[in-house]
Symmetry: C2
Subunit: 548 residues, 2 copies
């Protein structure tokens, strides 16, 4: 049996350090380069991808009867892959069957196996890139990063937080209480780490691995079996993950059924049955607030969520107008606004702003951003590479509906590749309107405000009321920035100020950025803070007098 | 403004070390001795206590109109103390009014003030002993310990865990991402610690400070204002606590209304109105499962509970029969079984056990424990000193009802002081019966079992199903102890093995024992682990490109 823990000890130590310093760190290169991943990595990934298409996906010894799977790429390809299908009861029974051995195997064995799994997943990043691209509709470069190394970073972060917490307090102690003139009381104590119980990870369509790994790896590291329920349109990235995990667990002498796949078909989802089963002790969920509400109403499990929100950009001034417009153009275009971090509402003073290029009227600000989007997407290949495709056909309906919501400042169009839509920008005048709710997809609303202060207040207010994962601010007045920082902190939303270069409000880096604060309605969990991990296990003591 | 943090830094550091080692440690002596507390401490405490009786309790600047208070000591004294009364809306508004200044004061200022408050409370331990004695009905020695130093230990533990968590991750970071041949991206990040929001601490009648301090101090340390809602029969210990806290907060330049007292009258409790108010973000509750269920159904706040349970003793053998009987006699008698840690069910093989005094039949085991109780309580003063009084008249009704539940092995009687009842022991034959539910008070059931294994299985099973905070085991077979350890760990209950000396299953020491595991129905929170503290605040980031 391989000692994965010793083998990966240095990796874990580096991760533990990175957690606390919050500086840049990653062991998983984000660039899809043969120099970093091996000269044959690109070709191997392509071959492995082709070999999966049109075939039953092999998950050795996985419980289930029959097959399910109907993934069709938003880029146009029918994947034709089928996965083992099992009813919820069978899956939960399998997970429960693995629970004792998995719990009692101990921290080091589990954590070692998870580190090995992450390293193996990293080596497969090209394959994961293809799998992510054709299930989420992202362009390959993004799919490689978000589906591969960035997701692996988030998984590693969860493992590191779990390891830190599992080892935080002594597991054994000799408690010696003085008794005055008498001999002291001496009690030996030992604590067993007891997992909370079977966990359910409900994957999303857009970032199946990036959003799925934190809960998955946190639950596994703390000793809980996990049922991985992918979105029926994005099974493959999580199926590959489950396969690697089951392989490594078995090699580590751990029960493979500590991770099982709950694949299902669109329209015949088994999610609700799994959620409502009282054997499920924890649920990690990324998706709509409506379904999060349903989960909360139908389970007594501990629920960790990332839900809907309305992200904002507040524009009050800049000393780099072109840089600002270019930066926002990319943020609005990237993956056609289908990121939980994509901006939606742009709050701009109706009297315009001061910039390095002189005063810019409200219309000139909107025009500047529009022009930057047009420039960014002028080349069709580049447009498809930035925007990717639209993963859910309903999003196209939302774009269509939004066209009627206000004056169109920039119209959405197709890129020419796959099911696509470039950013739509609409004017949203008035105190309330379409800007008051999440409009998931390539839709933004430019909202005229009375003043810079009003713009900040409205952006902070929508975050507080409707939730927000990101907020951006452009400002040159440091006192104004301080006031905005306070307002957005009170609204519980992370704020990015004056981004103009090659860093975007959409981006959230593991080991540094906590993703979602848990402090507004956009989610109750933060990736990956202590509160996300600590409740996943309990300590149970045995104590007895020490014998001489 | 006093720098309490610097002043108490060494205390905090010692507490932080103790947290991780789980060895014996306390800065607050548990012995009510003039040598430890000052030669005049006992007399000063007595005078301060007398000075409170029959008067309005002074809480300077506390919100409210009118007065409330109807505490009558179970020892026979009408306290005649009244407290400021305020409606829930006024209290929540006051707490909310203090929130911003309290949050923004920062970790060190808040933690310093809380440490100072604990040290002042410690100096008042004789007064707190009287206040606890005459609201909970405990005897003075116990009331001093549990209401004073042991509660202060638990408060300090919560502050230390909070401080560790608040400072766990860097508050500022420079994130420098390499960009190949280009200059690196350099982003400055800062995190604001954002409290979750107003907290409600619902005190219990039996241990108002010991059970109240962990949530109270954890919420305050993490920056949340707290509304302290005492049990209407046990207001004074928490009123004294609130007064000290408000004094110290003011001296530290912090808003006194960060702690307010929600005193109410029996039959006119304002608890439900407070619980159901959606401005309340967190609730700490100790009490019945029925009311815990009501809370969960009527709030979206984060709820931390200690609820009902059925604690057990499993007796399979001993090499110190007399020591075992004496130890159990004390555990069953102490505070007349009104501790959340008091044993209730005694599981004994029907064919008896092997001991250092030879084979003991089932009846001989029960008789040995009965005789030890009789001996312990033979002196009336000592009986009153161990048993204290019965705080809730309903408990006497339960004792009466239990008399009819099975053959009485030892009858309950009065001690002669106050409203009292010594332990009742009943035989509970059959697979199910009165032993299946909590019977809070001086009632135990001796349950004949098929074998040692059956006894362990039944004790673990009741813990799993009905909850349990403690379990005790007497055994001489190490293999059996190992199997029992596993069974009780899986049932999520802390296990004490072969206690025969001056340490009792009822006792839970701060900085070493985690009180309640959170892993069975006896409560969802563990005092004081990371999960109890970490969700009480959030981190919100501001990031911006570093300027050259």
């Amino acid at each position: 049996m391989t000692d994965f823990f010793t083998h990966h000890r240095a990796l874990l130590d580096d991760a533990l350090t990175a957690l606390t310093t919050r500086k840049f760190w990653t062991p998983f290169p984000e660039i899809p380069s043969g120099k970093l991943y091996g000269e044959t990595a690109r070709g191997d990934g392509e071959s492995a991808w082709q070999a999966l298409l049109g075939k039953p996906f092999d998950l050795p010894d996985h419980p289930g009867i029959g097959r399910v799977g109907a993934e069709v790429s938003p880029w146009g390809l029918d994947l034709g892959i089928t996965y083992p299908a099992a009813d919820p009861d069978t899956l939960i029974a399998a997970a429960e069957g693995a629970a004792s051995a998995f719990a009692e195997a101990g921290v080091e064995r589990r954590v070692g196996a998870l580190l090995e799994a992450l390293v193996r997943l990293n080596r497969m990043s090209f394959l994961l890139g293809h799998a992510t691209m054709h299930t989420t509709g992202q362009a390959f470069a993004m799919a490689f990063q978000a589906g591969g190394p960035h997701a692996q970073d988030r998984g590693l972060e969860a493992v590191a937080v779990a390891y830190a917490e599992l080892t935080r307090y002594a597991r054994d102690a000799v408690w010696e209480k003085p008794q005055g003139k008498h001999a002291p009381l001496v009690i030996e104590k030992h604590w067993t780490l007891v997992p909370r119980g079977p966990a359910l990870t409900i994957g999303c369509n857009t970032f199946p691995t990036w959003n799925g790994y934190p809960g998955l790896f946190a639950s596994l590291a703390t000793g809980n079996p996990v049922i991985v329920k992918p979105h029926p349109r994005a099974i493959l990235p999580l199926a590959l993950t489950v396969r690697v995990l089951r392989e490594v667990l078995a090699e580590a002498g751990l029960p493979a059924d500590a991770v099982v796949l709950a694949a299902d078909a669109p329209g015949e989802e088994i999610t609700k049955t799994l959620v409502a089963d009282d054997r499920i002790a924890m649920i990690d969920y990324t998706g709509s607030t409506a379904f999060a509400d349903w989960i909360r109403a139908n389970t007594s499990a501990l629920v960790f969520t990332e839900e809907a929100g309305v992200n904002s950009v507040t524009i009050t001034g800049t000393d780099d107008f072109d840089g600002m417009c270019a930066n926002l153009a990319f943020s609005l275009s990237l993956y056609s606004g289908q990121m939980c971090t994509s901006p939606q509402n742009l709050y701009v003073p109706k009297d315009g702003i001061e910039t390095d290029a002189g005063h810019k009227s409200f219309d000139a600000v909107a025009e500047g951003i529009k022009a930057a989007i047009d420039a960014l997407l002028s080349d069709p290949d580049r447009a498809a590479g930035v925007c990717g495709t639209i993963v859910n056909p309903d999003t196209l309906k939302r774009v269509e509906a939004a066209r009627g919501a206000g004056r169109v400042l920039r119209d959405s169009a197709e890129t020419g590749k796959g099911r696509s839509a470039t950013p739509l920008m609409c004017l949203a005048e008035g105190e309330s309107g379409p800007q008051d709710d999440e409009c998931f997809g390539p839709v933004s609303f430019v909202v005229p405000c009375d003043s810079a202060e009003d713009a900040i207040a409205r952006a902070a207010n929508i975050a507080r009321r409707k939730g927000a994962i990101t907020a951006a601010l452009y400002a040159t007045d440091e006192a104004l920035i301080d006031r905005a920082a306070r307002a957005f902190a009170q609204a519980g939303v992370n704020l990015s100020v004056n981004l103009t270069g090659n860093i975007y409000v959409n981006q959230s880096a593991a080991f540094s950025d906590f993703h979602v604060t848990g402090a507004n309605p956009a989610g109750n969990a933060s990736l990956t803070d202590t509160a996300f991990v600590a409740p996943r296990f309990r300590r149970v003591m045995i104590r007895r007098p020490k014998t001489a």
